[in-house]
């Protein structure tokens, strides 16, 4: 009897404890928004947060192009404006410049009509359509969850065709879900699938650069451990892939550095989330791993600078030393009290030596105030350079005269 009572009491007690534990579990804090995730307790008072995207492009009078400083002999002009959230650029065969956006959800076509640029919105309401690539008369667009195409688009700019789905077996995660899209020298379409977080152990399907055939077949991963790369290009001679990578936030003002990387072969791992900038183990995910396991960065490009567009210069307008030089557009920091980036850097690869890394265009940041954010570059037929600015909704043209 006594034993039964004891058992009964134990059961009651167990139920009680369980009942108490369940609501306690429900009281667990929910995850913070992804930009705030990974913020250490000691930084809880930080006012740092991503820079808000203005809903409208700036008027030409509000765009101080003269503040952009370039090397001697170069000249900067405002080439096009009124392109809300202008991001990646790609050229059509017939001279149309296609421009992507991110939160604006639009894809634009810019047509040069005897010196004035006409901006047409050819697709709208899309899911962060950051990636645009063009081949054989067809425009390809990468949103978060799918890649689509518009055949014969250059002849139908005023009545764009339906977007035809090329590939849609993609994660739907919004954080780092927007894509850069480009054709490799192998004719395949390359794009990033970013980590769905600031810092986390991502699923195997994330934190990579991937590729497919233009018909949507043959999906495969190219590079792993890539937190988020929204800019890459292939060396004009070696045909090898180079890319920019954004590093994690909330580890400090000066660390970790963003990266410029080289992925000459399939299957390399670039460290995320275990190791940052090639030599800083992650405080949480770096345990039991060594930075030596992963590919080291070719260049540490600076903390929080947000390197986006990567483009090898092959034009004939700029001086000879610019041949095969990389333009690296840095959209600029938010996770840093002293702003850094907001500039276009250049990288000169040198045999048997470290690459040379130096500024090309600066001035979007004045003191701690910004008036624009350079995101991508593109080369014009005449060899001049276009720079897109998603904050001002504008495109600048840089030309050179001896």
């Amino acid at each position: 009897m006594r034993r039964k009572l004891l058992i009964g009491l134990t059961i009651v007690l167990l139920i009680g404890v369980t009942m108490w534990l369940i609501p306690a579990q429900a009281q667990q804090p929910a995850p913070p928004p992804s930009w705030k995730q990974g913020q250490p307790a000691g930084m809880a008072e930080s006012m740092l947060a991503p820079i808000a995207q203005p809903p409208a492009p700036k008027a030409p009078g509000e765009i101080p192009v003269d503040k952009i400083k370039v090397p001697p002999g170069f000249k900067v002009e405002l080439w096009a404006h009124g392109i809300n959230n202008a991001r990646a650029m790609t050229w059509g065969d017939k001279g149309t410049l296609f421009v992507s956006s991110r939160v604006a959800g639009n894809v634009y076509a810019i047509v040069d009509k005897s010196g004035t640029r006409e901006v047409k919105t050819i697709a709208k309401g899309l899911n962060l359509p950051n990636g645009v690539a063009f081949k054989d008369g067809t425009l390809y667009v990468a949103e978060i969850h799918r890649i689509t195409k518009m055949a014969g688009i250059e002849d139908k700019l005023d009545a764009p065709p339906q977007m035809e789905v090329v590939y849609e077996t993609l994660p739907k995660d919004a954080p780092h879900g927007w894509k850069y899209l480009a054709f490799g020298p192998d004719g395949k379409l390359y794009f990033n699938i970013g980590a769905p977080c600031n810092i986390c152990l991502p699923p195997d399907t994330h934190a990579n650069i991937s590729r497919i055939n233009p018909d949507g077949s043959g999906f495969e991963y190219w590079a792993h451990g890539v937190r988020n790369s929204v800019g890459f290009d292939w060396h004009p001679v070696t045909k090898e892939l180079y890319f920019s990578m954004h590093a994690r936030d909330w580890l400090g003002e000066d660390v970790p550095s963003d990266r410029f990387d080289h992925a000459p072969k399939k299957g390399m791992h670039f460290g995320f989330p275990f190791c940052h900038q090639g030599d800083i183990p992650d405080p949480e995910f770096g345990k039991g791993r060594a930075c030596g396991e992963f590919a080291a960065p070719l260049i540490k490009t600076g903390p929080h600078v947000a390197g986006n567009g990567v483009m090898f210069y092959t034009g004939s307008m700029f001086p000879a030393e610019y041949q095969n030089r990389v333009f690296l557009a840095q959209r600029g920091s938010w996770n840093r009290t002293q702003k850094l980036g907001f500039r276009v850097m250049m990288v000169t690869l040198r045999p048997n030596d470290v690459p040379k890394y130096e500024p090309f265009a600066e001035g979007w940041l004045q003191g701690q105030e910004i008036w624009g954010r350079p995101v991508y570059t593109s080369q014009m037929k005449d060899g001049s350079l276009l720079i897109s600015d998603d904050y001002a909704g504008a495109i600048y043209r840089v030309s050179y005269q001896k």
Binding site: P33, E45, A52, V103, A104, G105
Partner: protein, 213 residues
């Protein structure tokens, strides 16, 4: 002028200060300042252009119809981005969508400036006090103030929640939970996922119970 988002940095789990007169005064000053920053012509143009909106949203952006949001004292970026989304079809509403279709970018800027400059008044939402009480701590646990600010007055592209209409808050929060509401960058859809249906309701009741800043 820089458009740095003034979000972040508010201690998790810390109780929010009561809406003291000082805070109210600061908020009114902030609203006045943000209004002053906008070109005066824009606000006046926005006032004229808002005439067709008045029958639902109120002449000064303070709506009275349950389920219709108040636009008064909403941040300019917020209103502007929502109008863009209605126009391009990312956000759909049988009543609202037809109005947005023909708006120009300039119209949107003017309307957003006008509504941001209007002082907000509380709604006549019938709030359940026990639900509101349950919702209070959910605001901390779910990091609402990280983006919406500690007073839930909103900022930049992030809307004011304090004193918004109960039925509208319920509709939107349930939509985010169901992944059917339109989201500029996915943040709200993610934020709503851990909420239970009861918590969604409690949160809406609490937000509706707050005084309009």
């Amino acid at each position: 002028m820089s458009h740095v988002a003034r979000t972040g940095g508010y201690k998790r789990g810390a109780s929010r200060p009561p809406f003291s007169k000082t805070i109210k005064a600061v908020l009114i000053a902030a609203v006045a300042l943000s209004g002053a920053r906008v070109d005066a012509a824009d606000v006046e143009a926005g006032r004229r252009k808002s005439a067709p909106c008045a029958s639902c949203h109120g002449a000064d952006g303070n709506a009275t119809i349950p389920g219709t949001p108040s636009l008064a004292a909403q941040p300019t970026y917020f209103t502007h981005w929502q109008l863009i989304k209605f126009r391009d079809g990312r956000r759909k509403d049988a009543q609202m969508s037809p109005f947005a279709v023909n708006l120009t970018d300039e119209d949107m800027g003017d309307l957003a400036a006008f509504y941001a400059a209007q002082p907000a008044r509380a709604r006549d939402s019938v709030v359940d006090p026990s639900r509101a009480a349950a919702g209070r701590e959910l605001v901390d646990r779910h990091h609402c103030s990280s983006c919406h600010t500690p007073t839930l007055a909103g900022q930049q592209q992030v809307p004011r929640l304090a004193g918004q209409d109960l039925q509208y808050l319920l509709k939107l929060l349930r939509g985010f939970k169901a992944k059917t509401a339109s989201d500029l960058d996915g943040t709200m859809t993610m934020a709503a996922q851990p909420l239970t249906p009861e918590e969604v309701d409690s949160l809406a009741h609490y937000l509706a119970s707050l005084p309009a800043p």
